[in-house]
Amino acid sequence: MSSWIVTNLWLIPALPFAASLVILSLSNVRRKSAAALAVIGQLLALAFSILAFLPTLQTHGFRVVQNFNWFTFGEQTLRLGFILDPLAAAMLMMIALVGLCIFVFSVGYMAEDRNFVRFFAYLSFFSGAMLGLVIANSLVLLFIFWELVGLASYLLIGFWIERPSAAAAAKKAFVTTRIGDMGFFLGMLWLYNRSGTLLFYDGGNGCLESAGLAMLGASPAVAGFIALLIFCGAAGKSGQFPLHVWLPDAMEGPTPVSALIHAATMVAAGVFLVARVYPLFSLGAINGVTPSLTVVVWIGVTTALMAALIAVAQADIKRILAYSTVSQLGLMMVSLGVGGVAAGIMHLLAHGFFKALLFLGSGSVIHGCHGEHDIRKMGGLRRPMPVTFVTYAIGMMALSGVPFFFSGGWTKEEILHATAHWPRSHATYYLMLAGVVLTALYMTRQIIYVFFGNSRSASERVHESPRVMTTPLIVLAICAIFFSVLLTPAWPWLHTYLTGESAQFELVRLIQPMFFVSLVLVGAGIGFGIWMYRNAGAPERNRPAEIDPLEYAQPALFRFLANKMWIDELYNRTVVAFSWMAAHLSDWMDRYFWDGLVRGFGAIGQLFAIFTTSVDERGINAGVDETTAGARSLGRVMSTAHSGQIQTYLGVVAIGMLALLLLYAWLA
């Protein structure tokens, strides 16, 4: 039974794709069938995912690939394939489950929307592409799904198409990720060139297996470059510095989209990609350190800290979460970079649950507040929205990394643990610790602003969301808590599942030094947050109500952070302006320089023509176009010979004949 799905893995992405196609062909009023189709498609995908997950439990280091020919060009063949291994199976489970919750949530959240049907078509399309991405056994196939999730993201960010800001954000996301993708594309070409195959695993001949790696290992520098180029793609998709700018803007999309694509799944694809091709990164590693991994670490650290800092000063509820996502993705990258692949993936999975929970929670809040995004206008929501509040608090704890009860705490500890043992530098470890404090701080700030204090302008007449929206919240909250069962050091089942070992139960390992470090840091972050924001949203001494406490204390710093460190402005002034200038320059060159050059040649020819035909000199300065005019004036001169008198013509013919006759006689 289960082996059947193992050999038919394509079914998992195919079902949502099929659902999407059917929904697209529905008319705009068939709302119920659209939603039902999407949910059924996703449900089946989840069922198949579970079926596919089961066999991977039976053996350690389970890995089945099915490769097939895509096409034959010349005498060569391009092969694609699907893979099922613990990494893929775990991702499948997470994506299908979170996806299902979000699909259900969307039924409620988007109920009023005009383009409800189209929304579900896009959402199913995304789900299919994302599921396909994680089971791809070929870099090409991965790239194909990679681009398709990018397309889905583009369509869904710009879903409210009548808003110019949504369209601009969609364009920005598309272009920015594509910059990274071009690096990915080049890396893929290079890898193909070097190893002769793009299949990851192919019975020993894949590019990630001994034969392929041996071919690459001949020049480790090249392998490093290839890895870095691929990392460009990962950085673009996962919002790593300096390509992170699109992700916060992507919050223009509907909230379920933000939850599914820009928090739980697609943005994590970059992390997944690095984990998938990890052998390339670690090729020729000494002590687990390679130049490419070092780059990954530093990019990750920069991103994590920068985004956490910016999150502290944002006012838009979704933007805070977006920056938090960027920060967490940076954390995962750090984990991968320092060698903690399993830790990174575990955090990815856990993050998928709790960040989706947080986003759906924020969606519920926004829904309740009639579309308001600004946290400074909310307040006191814990009473009218109890379910949302409790689940949101659970999500917040998990994100902050409160130890012991919440999944995020365990995975974060594991990452910190890996970072602490990185031989290259200890600075990353301390910077990561700072990141943990900041995370706790901005989440505390947000929750105080939104749920505590007095109700402000937007939070009047607030209602709890309908059941269809709260149920997914509850499911996800349960996941966020009970997922930690698989994560504890006492029984590190997920860790061993991913690394292919067997888990031993040992209660002693539950208490580790990192546990206390984490406890202190999170406590400090939350405590500082409560102290600082205890009166947020209300006037306090000399501070008016609408001014943020931090802004009051450190106006310059706050402005710097609130404006996202002016990175967007910097890009606009440099990269964007430069490209735009280049575009205009090209256009100008084309219109005037190249065309002028050609006209110049035309003019030379024309000059020659003028000499030989003694046509008037009017057209000397003109170009190709004027040549016709020249020809026309020549024609005018010639046409005076055409009197229209047939006798003249006949006479000329006779003279011509005579001339020919004489010529002939003379020759003979």
């Binding site: 895509w70 096409f71 034959t72 060009f73 010349g74 005498e75 060569q76 189209r118 090409v140 790239f143 194909i144 681009e147 398709l148 397309l151 583009y154 710009g158 198409i161 009548e162 808003r163 110019p164 949504a166 369209a167 601009a168 969609a170 364009k171 598309f174 272009v175 594509r178 910059i179 071009m182 594309f185 080049l186 070409l189 290079w190 193909y192 060139n193 002769g196 490209s579 735009w580 280049a582 575009a583 205009h584 320059l585 090209s586 256009d587 060159m589 084309d590 190249w594 065309d595 050059l597 050609v598 035309g602 190709v624 176009d625 040549t627 016709t628």
Partner: protein, 494 residues
């Protein structure tokens, strides 16, 4: 008994006659009928085509001008067949485009051009080939000149002078070759080419003549400045044919003539040719970015897409290193795929621009539209598919060709390929910008009365788009057409 190829060449000519003598004003039904016949012939060719055979197929050879050793010699290999199929597809597609200049003359001229195109792609002898090559030029000129829009005189003259100048150079070069070798036969010349057809300065002159002639036709940077004007002003259907098929004549010429005949010369100037190709790839979309006129924008992107073809060809033929077999096969297959894909995609883009133009009353600046998605979701949806295909989104046809071209050229010209990737990026930017300003935002007042895709338009759009999907997902049937040719050709080159 008339051979299938002769039939396919002459059916459109008969069609042109029939259209001229047709009593009704509207020549479209009869023109389309003849298109169906020629498409049936093309399908027949495909049906009977032996994909494993290495030599030319359906060869017809008759005495023609014995004095100069010129025969009527036609035949197809994989590449020719591909282009014949493309022609059979694009011409009726162009006839269904709008806004459409009326009158029988338009259809008759188009049909004459179609015949010339078939001839160009099947002729295996230079004299015959050149005859058809030039025969396509005149209808194209007339179509721009008579039925064009604003600035048509200027654009038509520019087009004519450019291409004609190129053709003259090519003719002279071939006369030089003829006097040296005494034959016009492509196959014979190609087998002679390996050892150098000509020597010394003469060889370079002949090379330059043919190169410029073909580079103008493709067009390759910096011989491209006629193109934006011509495509912009030509009526939609003509633009579709110009970009979909006529530009392929240049690429075809490179594959069939220049590369087999002058392998040594190409090797020497190779890097410079690659520079030109990369310039086409990078500067053209940059210029497209700065355009406001949609047709002009698509025209510039056409230059970019044909630049990929040139990149693949030059990388294989011009690199000092002999490419590995896999890279040669990849690059050549990629180029052939790109020829076909660009043909349908660019034609589809022009078709959609034409639909917009018709709805807006012949305005087509990006500023004239806005928020179309609210008013005409189907039109926008299908048009986006064409756009995504053009920017090389996987799952659609454009990706296959581009991936293979890049794969093949990366191995031999990594630096150039790396720069060329920028072209992919800029193309994406151009389309993202176009989609933003056309489809999204508040509905522009001028667009508030646009009808959505009509049924007859759907009938045109859906099959073409489906073809894009099919090629993008399961392209093997396309590769089958030309795989043997690719293998043959790469043997010739190595």
């Amino acid at each position: 008994m008339v051979g299938l190829i002769t039939a396919i060449i002459f059916v459109p000519l008969l069609g042109a006659l029939a259209v001229c003598t047709w009593p009704q004003k509207n020549g479209r039904p009869i023109a389309l009928m003849f298109n169906v016949i020629s498409a049936a012939c093309a399908l027949g060719l495909w049906w009977k085509f032996d994909t494993a055979a290495t030599e030319l197929q359906f060869v017809e050879r008759h005495e023609w001008i014995p004095a100069i050793n010129a025969e009527y010699l036609v035949g197809v290999d994989g590449l020719s067949l591909l282009l014949v199929l493309l022609t059979s597809l694009i011409i009726p597609f162009a006839f269904l485009a709008r806004p459409l200049p009326g009158g029988r003359g338009f259809y008759a001229t188009m049909l004459v051009m179609q015949s010339a195109l078939y001839g160009t792609f099947t002729a295996q002898n230079f004299v015959l080939w050149f005859l058809f090559y030039e025969m396509s030029l005149i209808p194209a000129f007339l179509l721009i000149k008579i039925w064009g829009g604003e600035n048509r005189d200027r654009a038509a003259t520019k087009f004519f002078l450019y291409t004609f100048f190129g053709s003259v150079g090519m003719l002279l070069s071939f006369l030089g070759i003829y006097f040296a070798k005494g034959t016009f036969d492509f196959t014979t010349l190609a087998s002679l080419g390996k050892h150098g057809l000509l020597t010394g300065r003469l060889a370079w002159l002949a090379f330059a003549g043919i190169f410029v002639g073909l580079a103008v036709k493709v067009p390759l940077f910096p011989f491209h400045t006629w193109l934006p004007d011509a495509y912009q002003t030509a009526p939609t259907g003509v633009s579709m044919v110009l970009t979909g098929v006529l530009s392929k004549m240049g690429v075809y010429g490179f594959v069939r003539l220049l590369i087999p005949l002058f392998p040594n010369q190409i090797k020497i100037v190779g890097p410079w040719l690659l520079v030109l190709a990369v310039c086409s790839i990078v500067f053209a979309p940059l210029a497209a970015w700065a355009q406001r006129d949609l047709k002009r924008m698509v025209a510039y992107l056409s230059i970019n897409h044909l630049g990929y073809c040139m990149l693949g060809l030059f990388a294989v033929a011009a690199s000092p290193v002999v490419a590995a077999e896999i890279d040669m096969h990849a690059a050549l297959s990629g180029v052939f795929m790109q020829i076909f894909n660009h043909g349908i995609t660019a034609a589809a883009l022009f078709y959609f621009v034409g639909l917009l133009e018709q709805r807006s009353g012949s305005r087509r600046s990006v500023d004239d539209f806005g928020g179309l998605m609210q008013r005409t979701p189907l039109l926008c949806g299908w048009m986006s598919v064409a756009m995504f295909s053009s920017l090389g989104l996987p799952g659609l046809n454009g990706f296959i060709g581009e991936f293979l071209i890049f794969k093949g050229s990366f191995a031999v010209a990594a630096a150039f390929t790396a720069i060329a990737v920028i072209g992919l990026l800029i193309t994406a930017i151009v389309f993202a910008r176009a989609m933003q300003s056309l489809f999204s935002g508040p509905l522009a007042e001028s667009c508030s009365a646009f009808p959505d895709l009509l049924r007859k338009e759907k009938l045109v759009v859906v099959p073409v788009t489906l073809l894009m999907f099919v090629i993008g997902i399961a392209p093997q049937f396309m590769f089958n057409i030309f795989n043997t040719t690719v293998v043959q050709m790469s043997r010739l080159l190595s």
